[in-house]
Amino acid sequence: MSYTNEQVSHLIEGTLDWETVFRMLSMPKDHTRFEQYRDALQTKVTFKDRIVLPLSPHMYIVQTVNAKKWVVKCDCGHEFCDYRENWKLHAVIYVRDTEEAMTEVYPKLMAPDVSWQVYREYYCPTCGVMHDVEAPTPWYPVIHDFEPDIETFYKDWIGLPVPERA
């Protein structure tokens, strides 16, 4: 099973026809997807750094063009940190910890009680895109969600050369 680069590009845009999406769901996975996905995303971003791993709709681990460092980067070009660090610690945050702030986003009674739970919104310091919303109790440490083993993934799982890392 495989799909065209155009189909993968449409998948990313959310414009792929349902019949194909359904086939993707119900059939065995296409093994070349990651390469097609990464390449399709590369054509959509404006920076020249090479995408190593997509993290979320607007965030990537990239290899910087000159220094060959692996860093976390927003698609606006803002560089957060080394890929091993928690990018949230390098973001800006807005915490909905009052009833007034909660009822900005949900009708009365349909948001959490802030003495139990708060919403922490993490934005890109440059473009203001919202990369994540945490919903923990007060006091909860900022969660380092994901530490991918990129070398094993590239080398042992999908048989691609591991991008150079300084």
Binding site: R33, L53, V105, M110, S115, V129, P136, H144
Partner: protein, 778 residues
């Protein structure tokens, strides 16, 4: 004259039964399998799958016959049941085991019970049931004991041994979710009790039938131990019929294919399942470490939570941190270190409920296959610390609504897997999470037929699903605990419950916002009708959300309750006046209250767990079923999607404006969003975000001060204190993250709330003559 067998042991055992005809006890047999598995890494040491490799077509035919027969038995047997929970919602399943109690294959339905019935069989094996009460052809065993692996007491299992030429070759189990278990309060997942001793009728692998016939003492005792004997009897007949159909199926298969092939299949298919999970993980995810967390509220100080024990009257939070490690070989470790302690409520879970339960979830994402068996379990390392809510170390714990947090605890797994799918490009597989599958409308009394009755509305089978990375979640579509769930027909529910429907609507704003929004839940307005001495209560999340959104998406809306008493609706109906109909569309500006008496007693708040309260005919109850979480920044949502949501009343205009930045016009209730103005407004919103935000490390300094000063609600501090009490690792990581002084500590004793269970606990394993079966790393 009775003769005393000289082989009898002190516990009353009657000696070695040689059920396997190989000179081994069942325990010795199972120990051998476990040892070969541990020594080789392959289930039962099966490095090679001889049958599958030598006769792949014959192997597949065996699979198809058995799996087809299991599904057929479920579909046929469920027609015997009268309970809509079983007959309409499909809350049953049948599972086939080998002689060691490991699952070979299962039917569709509530497949969490792959492991729970297996745990009961293993308990019988480990505690020498073959010696006493003995295991014979035609026997039936019934179990629902939550202390040995069941999820909650309302899942009643019938287990039947399968013999071939007088040799035990396996077991078949059938489970149904019964409508009432005779617990302190009516309904299958009640809240009034705080310990096992109020959780309802509890049966521990009891021999309840011989020669394929239920024993009369069992029938008499069990039927008078629950409120709904009619449903109970027919549920039991459903289970027995299904088990016997499957036993006959196995006999037919053996007659056709031979006992050797059947038994080889029974082991190889489990090893194949183990390998299947490894290959799926490698095919769909990424190696690495994923960390997620989930919570749910247990608000018990409110006066509408009436419990019999003063030490249970406290607000608390259940905490489920999850670290998923996906290893190079495709195996994975699920670590819940730091989870909070079990509590004095009915939301605790045995570790098997957890380890078995995740497969009902995985079959909807990572392993969407018919080959669901114990193989996946053998490819997974579970770390569930002893003493936590998901592995209690006290034999008093209540479990009636273990799902309150199981569904939430698993939210972390969904998000972890979805991160992997997203990064790998399998966007079609991403699911931001699930709804907290509530409210549970429960209660009882004298129904419209004049009979003692209990109800548990299973409308929660159809909550909103989480958003995907390429599309919105489904509205009022599913529940994580039953892939075949259905909301049920109004007409059937009105036959089962003395509650008329005054509305059944999609719940606006219940799905989490995002580029793709979570599926909306729905709400039904019910009016009590033609009942006597009627009670009801609420069960769900209210003060907290258990699922988060993903990658910029918001969590779904939390729950709230609406109930009204002394409404005056009887008189309004008689005079043809207006009455409340349809949805509680915007709780900020409620309308139901306009159509009931001004003197009515209305409860409209976030207290979504209550205990049995009195309801008269013409009282109102809003059953609000939750939505799913959202995916991606809401400012990326398509204009047309916002417009559609407003025009279908899935989204209130105020929040289209505030959350999505939509600029729109309205003409006679039809909304039109202006794309250019919305684009400009969204640019402003991004600037407004930056204006109100601070660098995360700056905010952390303020939060650290709040921690040092212990400035947080009691329930938040209580949650941390119980997690700290069980885990030095979690404590150290917390203190390190916040750079807290070495001597900083938080103890339950300083919180001024009851802390029964914090020090003194007694595990089931300490009872005499009991061997518990541990199936995780503790």
């Amino acid at each position: 004259m009775n003769v005393i067998n000289p082989l009898n042991k002190g516990s009353g055992d009657t000696g070695f039964a040689d059920l396997l005809k190989n000179g081994q006890t069942l325990k010795q047999y199972r120990d051998g399998i476990m040892k070969r598995t541990a020594d080789t890494g392959y289930y039962n040491g099966l490095e090679k799958l001889a049958l599958r490799d030598s006769d792949p077509i014959g192997y597949e035919k065996l699979f198809s016959k058995l799996r087809g027969g299991l599904v057929h038995a479920r579909e046929t047997a469920k027609k015997i049941a009268a309970s809509p929970i079983v007959e309409q919602e499909g809350e049953l399943c049948f599972t086939l085991y080998n002689a060691a109690g490991d699952c070979i294959l299962t039917s569709t339905g509530i497949i969490i019970h792959v492991g729970t019935m297996g745990a009961a069989i293993k308990y019988m094996i480990e505690n020498n049931w073959e010696g006493n009460p003995r295991i014979n052809p035609g026997d039936m065993f019934t179990t629902n004991d939550c202390a040995i692996g069941n999820v909650h007491p309302c899942d009643i299992a019938t287990i039947v041994p399968i013999f071939w030429e007088d040799r035990l070759i396996g077991w078949v189990g059938g489970v149904t979710h019964v409508i009432d278990t005779g617990s302190v309060t009516p309904g299958s997942m009640s809240t009034g009790q705080v310990q096992r001793f109020g959780d309802g009728y509890m049966i521990t692998c009891r021999k309840t039938g011989v020669n394929d016939t239920p024993l009369r003492d069992w029938l008499h005792e069990s039927q008078r131990s629950v409120r709904t004997p009619k449903y109970w009897i027919l549920d039991e007949r459903t289970r027995i019929a299904g088990c016997h159909m499957i036993r006959e199926l196995v006999e037919d298969v053996i007659r056709h294919d031979g006992i050797e092939a059947y038994e080889k299949f029974g082991f190889e298919v489990i090893e194949e399942g183990r390998r299947g999970l490894l290959s799926r993980i490698k095919a769909m995810t990424l190696p690495g470490i994923y960390r997620k967390v989930a919570f749910v509220d247990v608000p018990y100080t409110h006066p509408d939570v009436q419990v019999s024990s003063a030490f249970a009257k406290l607000d608390s939070i259940m905490h489920s941190p999850c670290e998923i490690t996906i290893k190079k070989d495709g195996s994975w470790r699920l670590d819940f270190e730091g989870a909070s302690r079990w509590g004095w409520h009915t939301f605790n879970a045995h570790h098997v409920a957890f380890t078995s339960g995740i497969w009902v979830m995985m079959s909807q994402t990572l392993v969407p296959t018919q080959r669901i068996n114990d193989g996946a379990f053998f490819a997974t390392q579970f770390h569930l610390p002893k003493g936590t809510w998901c592995n209690p170390d006290d034999r008093r714990t209540g479990h009636a609504y273990a799902w309150h947090f199981l569904v939430s605890g698993w939210a972390a797994l969904w998000r972890g897997l979805s991160q992997a799918y997203f990064s790998r490009g399998y966007l079609e597989e991403v699911n931001a999470g699930n709804a907290n599958t509530s409210n549970w409308l429960q209660g009882g009394g004298i129904n419209q037929d004049g009979e003692i009755h209990a109800v548990n509305s299973f409308e929660a089978s159809s909550c909103g699903t989480g958003a995907c990375a390429v599309k919105d979640g489904l509205n009022h579509a599913a529940a994580i605990w039953n892939p075949e769930g259905d909301m049920g027909d109004i007409e059937i529910w009105e036959m089962a419950e003395p509650l008329l429907y005054l509305g059944r609507n999609v719940k606006a704003n219940s799905g989490g916002y995002g580029k793709y929004r979570g599926g909306c839940g729905f709400e039904t307005l019910r009016m009590v009708w033609n009942s006597h001495d009627w009670t009801m209560f609420f069960m769900g999340n209210g003060f907290m959300n258990s699922d988060w959104g993903m990658m910029g998406g918001y969590p779904s809306a939390t729950g709230y309750r609406f109930e009204a008493h002394k409404t005056g609706l009887k008189e309004r109906i008689a005079s043809g006046g207006d009455i409340p109909m349809g949805g509680d569309i915007d709780p900020t500006h409620p309308t139901y209250e306009r159509y009931i008496d001004a003197t009515a007693i209305v409860k409209r708040d976030k207290q979504c767990i209550t205990t049995e309260d009195c309801y008269e005919n013409h009282d109102l109850y809003l059953n609000y079923l939750r939505g799913g979480p959202g995916f991606g920044d809401p400012l990326d949502r398509e204009i047309e999607a916002i417009e559609n949501d407003m025009n279908q009343v899935f989204l209130l205009p105020e929040f289209a404006r505030k959350v999505y930045g939509a600029v729109f016009t309205e003409d006679k209730g039809v909304f039109k969003v202006d794309a250019a103005k919305t684009k400009a407004r969204r640019a402003e919103i991004r600037k407004e975000r930056l204006a109100r935000a601070v660098p995360t490390r700056e905010w952390m300094k303020e939060e650290r001060e709040r921690i040092i000063n212990k400035h947080a609600s009691v329930q938040v501090q209580h949650m941390f204190a119980t997690s700290f009490g069980l885990s030095e690792k979690f404590t150290n990581e917390f203190k390190k993250f916040w750079s807290l002084p070495d001597d900083w500590q938080l103890l339950e004793t300083e919180l001024g709330v009851p802390s029964y269970g914090s020090v003194h606990r007694m595990d089931l394993s300490t009872l005499p003559d009991v061997t518990t079966v541990v199936q995780c790393e503790e």
